[in-house]
């Protein structure tokens, strides 16, 4: 029998062990953890290019993190945002030759991205909502399928006219998101991301749908008795988070790359899980968390390029951060419960 305070203590020990693991890994690479930490901070916060790179990266991470936050609130685990992002960018790109070359055309591309992502997420939604299949497996499998289809498209039907590099022709400049600040790459996607934050925050915290998501996440059984169908919620929220992923893909294409290619937004969908979890699934905290992770990436990227620590340290850190946050929430929960009166009926 474990005492409550005992669990709180074990949470602290577990978190300490995870931190020690990260420090040990850095030491193994012959680097000094302290100087690595300082290096990340210097590069990310005190160099212009590092900070701008982080802001740029935080745009898709914010949009994706919002999608994760929505789905996870209903305890629907969408691990397939990478595939949904690809689906969105493919549809956006496929629309490019068909739309007028103006702001309306750009809007159509972005909408196409939303629809594409929603459709890809919707497949998982149908598997979960209609057939009761596990959404984690479905979304992961759909990731691999999307990756392969993208690989085929940029070597086949959507390949550039020159047919040399596996990538598409560039978008017309009129279909690119405008740059917000001169001499930077910060594009209007930043505004889209912030608008998405507001919209998702209202949806999650003020709307009936958001309420239903939370009910299903907290007690699916009670939800059913109240006339809320958890399967419908799961299906719809997978579609919705897919739509956000698709939007993120279209924003990346129209904001940064201007064309379809392989390996853009690498693993962002998975990183977005860490972003959303650290933001405690609160849409308003998602952009903060996304910027934090982006700063980490920017700083670590430089250190990795300079050969200080191998790049996969970033994945170790992501895992470690989630573990430490889990331990933190366990600690808080059990500290809070201690001393509080427990009812003794039954």
């Amino acid at each position: 029998m474990t005492d409550r305070s005992d669990i709180a203590r074990q949470a602290v020990i577990a978190a300490a062990c995870i931190v020690a693991l990260v420090v040990g890994a850095i030491l193994l690479a012959g680097a000094n953890p302290l100087s690595v930490a300082i290096g990340i901070g210097e590069r990310a916060l005190f160099t212009r290019s590092g900070f701008l790179e982080a802001v740029l990266r935080s745009i898709p991470l914010t949009i994706l993190g919002l999608g994760i936050a929505l789905a996870f609130r209903a305890r629907v685990f969408n691990i397939g945002m990478d595939g949904q992002l690809i689906a969105g960018s493919v549809v956006a790109m496929a629309l490019a030759p068909l739309v007028p070359l103006d702001a309306f055309g750009l809007l159509l591309l972005l909408s196409g991205g939303i629809v594409g992502g929603a459709a890809w997420g919707g497949i998982a939604g149908v598997i979960k909502g209609r057939f009761g299949g596990n959404e984690i497996i479905a979304t992961i499998m759909l990731n691999y399928v999307a990756l392969q289809i993208l690989s085929w498209l940029v070597r086949g039907p959507m390949q550039e006219t020159m047919r040399i590099i596996p990538r598409s022709d560039p978008l017309d400049a009129a279909l690119r998101l405008p740059i917000l600040f001169e001499a930077t790459r910060i594009h209007a996607g930043l505004l889209i991301a912030l608008a998405a934050v507001v919209a998702v925050a209202i949806l999650a915290r003020r709307s009936r749908y958001g309420f239903k998501l939370a009910v299903v996440g907290a007690n699916a059984h009670a939800a059913r008795y109240a006339g809320i169908d958890p399967r419908w919620i799961a299906g719809s929220v997978l579609t919705l988070s897919g739509a956000l992923a698709g939007l993120a893909g279209a924003v990346e294409i129209t904001g940064i790359y201007g064309r379809l290619q392989e390996g853009f937004a690498p693993g962002f969908g998975i990183t977005a899980i860490a972003v959303a979890l650290v933001a405690r699934l609160n849409p308003l905290l998602v952009p903060v968390s996304a910027l934090g992770f982006s700063l980490l990436y920017a700083g670590l990227g430089t250190l990795a390029r300079n050969g200080v620590v191998p790049f996969p340290i970033i994945n170790i850190l992501e895992g470690a951060i989630i573990f430490v946050f889990l331990a933190g929430s366990v600690y808080v929960a059990h500290r809070a419960k201690r001393g509080q009166a427990e009812t003794a009926d039954g």
């Binding site: 029998m1 209202i202 003020r206 709307s207 009936r208 749908y209 309420f211 239903k212 939370a214 009910v215 907290a218 007690n219 059984h221 009670a222 059913r224 008795y225 109240a226 006339g227 809320i228 169908d229 001393g339 509080q340 009166a341 427990e342 009812t343 003794a344 009926d345 039954g346």
Partner: protein, 523 residues
């Protein structure tokens, strides 16, 4: 205090206190049981009976005081230590793995078998031996989930007695049994007593005390308020001890099932709900009830009596729109069970309110506020949700008003509902369900686990609902509650249905016979 002195107590509690945070569950409890003695431990829900059981079974440790076995203090830190001390427990909520057979469940409780290969034949023989000495017949080869409550209880008893048990604790064993199974149980208890085994029988039913117990200990608010030979007690004494002074008449009315208020049955009005030749299926696929026909009218309370597990839960599930009947047809408030609109959402909108039997699992979301839990059932109301957006201030106002009206003790509409006591949670659920002018109220065990005052309140609400012309379907295993409230009574037993019949046309013992599955009377 009884003090025979000659035989030393087998197991004793000395000055035992147990707290949960600020709540004192047991205060300085002294208790002793001797070999071959049947001790009835009685008290209201929440009086501290279960805490004593949990301490004796090694699930909880006392904060103060000591537990003595054969006069020596022992520390029972785990169920295993309790078993080693010779204490066997049959918990109120059975601890059987539903997907395993009875035999495997018993083997699970035999650590001495080690971790290796099971010799199922040998275990089966040991079970047979244990069962035969008690005159019990047990089904050990079927999965437990397919057995009825009485069979499961027999497996629990054999499981407890497979080890050398000197004290057997039975926690509310009669709550779920029909008269016939109850008689069998008492017979088993007498055999145990004859072999010198001590028995602690936990109950809140008076008749159990006088049927088998040698001595009764009454608990109230965690303290021992009476400890006397059963022969020297009258039912009135026990009731008085259980509820304390002051509420004497009310208390007796509730415990003895005296009826107070009755409206004339409102037949003639159109049926709110019409069940025709309905067959209901359990989640494991077996048939729970077949051939069920019943009309529910506004202005009456129809009660389903019977032992738990005979299809009552399935009926409630179906009427709540969580399931469709396997056979037959139900028409309810314009919805048809054969149609596509037989869902929880549709029925709720049509006016079905539901007070579910497992409140914490089906009725509320523990980590949400009272206001949000209110919204759970009323998110279609224009006043609370407009254009898909929740109107929080209107919701707060309404919920505060309801909380005051129903006297729910809480710090406010924003308090998490799992911070409330069980009774206040139930009052809240009733407040919520009575709102929005429902036409049919499904109430499953609405007063289970509540104290006498809250029970009165709940009964009053159901009677008010009848007065207001609503149809009420009550499921209860408490015959007293049913006799007090119902206009018409129906019994589910052994896959069959008895009745419905008017309350005035049937005697208590006749219902008892139905519950036991006897087909006398208008079946």
């Amino acid at each position: 205090m009884s003090d025979e002195g000659s035989v030393p107590p087998l197991v004793a509690l000395r000055g035992v206190t147990k707290r949960f945070g600020a709540v004192v569950a047991n205060r300085a409890v002294d208790l002793a049981v001797r070999p071959g003695e049947v001790l009835a431990l009685v008290g209201e829900n929440g009086a501290g009976k279960s805490t004593i059981v949990n301490m004796l079974s090694g699930l909880l440790r006392p904060d103060e005081g000591s537990i003595l076995v054969d006069g020596r203090p022992v520390s029972l830190d785990s169920p295993a230590q309790s078993v080693r001390a010779g204490i066997g427990v049959v918990h109120q909520h059975f601890t059987l793995v539903p997907t395993l057979t009875g035999l495997d469940n018993i083997a699970l409780a035999m650590p001495e078998l080690g971790l290796g290969r099971l010799n199922r034949r040998q275990i089966g023989q040991a079970i047979d031996t244990a069962a035969r000495t008690l005159g019990l017949s047990v089904d050990t080869t079927s999965r437990v989930e397919g057995l009825d409550v009485a069979q499961q209880q027999r497996i629990e008893i054999v499981k407890a007695l497979i080890h050398k048990v000197r004290l057997l604790i039975l926690d509310e064993p009669t709550a779920v049994l029909g008269p016939e199974d109850k008689a069998h149980l008492f017979d088993t208890i007498r055999r145990l007593k004859a072999e010198g085994t001590a028995v602690i029988l936990i109950t809140h039913k008076l008749e159990d005390i006088f049927a088998v117990a040698d001595r009764a200990v009454v608990l109230r608010n965690g303290e021992v308020v009476a400890d006397a030979p059963a022969a020297g007690l009258t039912p009135d004494d026990v009731v008085l001890h259980m509820v304390g002074s002051g509420d004497r008449d009310q208390a007796r009315a509730i415990v003895t099932g005296e009826t107070t208020l009755r409206s004339s049955s409102a037949s003639g009005t159109d049926a709110v709900c019409r069940l025709a030749d309905v067959t209901l299926r359990r989640s494991n696929g077996s048939i729970a009830v077949s051939g069920l026909s019943l009309d529910l009218h506004g202005g009456e309370i129809v009660a389903i009596a019977g032992v738990d597990g005979n299809g009552q839960s399935e009926l409630m599930r179906v009427l709540a729109g969580m399931d469709v009947p396997l056979g037959g047809r139900i028409e309810c408030l314009g919805r048809d069970s054969a149609g596509s609109a037989w869902t929880a959402a549709h029925l709720r909108r049509a006016g079905v309110a539901h007070v579910p039997e497992d409140r914490r699992r089906s009725g509320i979301v523990g980590e949400m506020s009272l206001a949000r839990n209110y919204l759970l059932r009323h998110s279609d109301r224009r006043a609370l949700v407009r254009h898909g957006m929740v109107r929080n201030s209107a919701l707060q106002r309404l919920v505060r008003e309801r909380l005051a009206l129903f006297d729910v003790r809480t710090r406010g509409a924003d308090e998490r509902i799992d911070q409330l006591s069980g009774g206040n949670q139930q009052k809240f659920v009733l407040a919520r369900e009575m709102d929005g002018d429902p036409r049919l109220i499904l109430a499953a065990h609405p007063s289970r686990g509540l104290d006498i005052k809250t029970i009165r309140f709940v009964h009053g609400l159901l009677e008010e609902a009848r007065q207001a012309g609503k149809a009420v379907l009550l499921v209860s295993s408490d015959l007293d509650e049913i006799l007090r409230l119902a206009d018409r009574i129906m019994v589910f037993a052994a896959g069959r249905t008895f009745g419905p019949t008017s309350r005035g046309d049937i005697a208590r013992d006749e219902i008892g016979a139905w519950i036991a599955g006897h087909a006398s009377g208008p079946a």
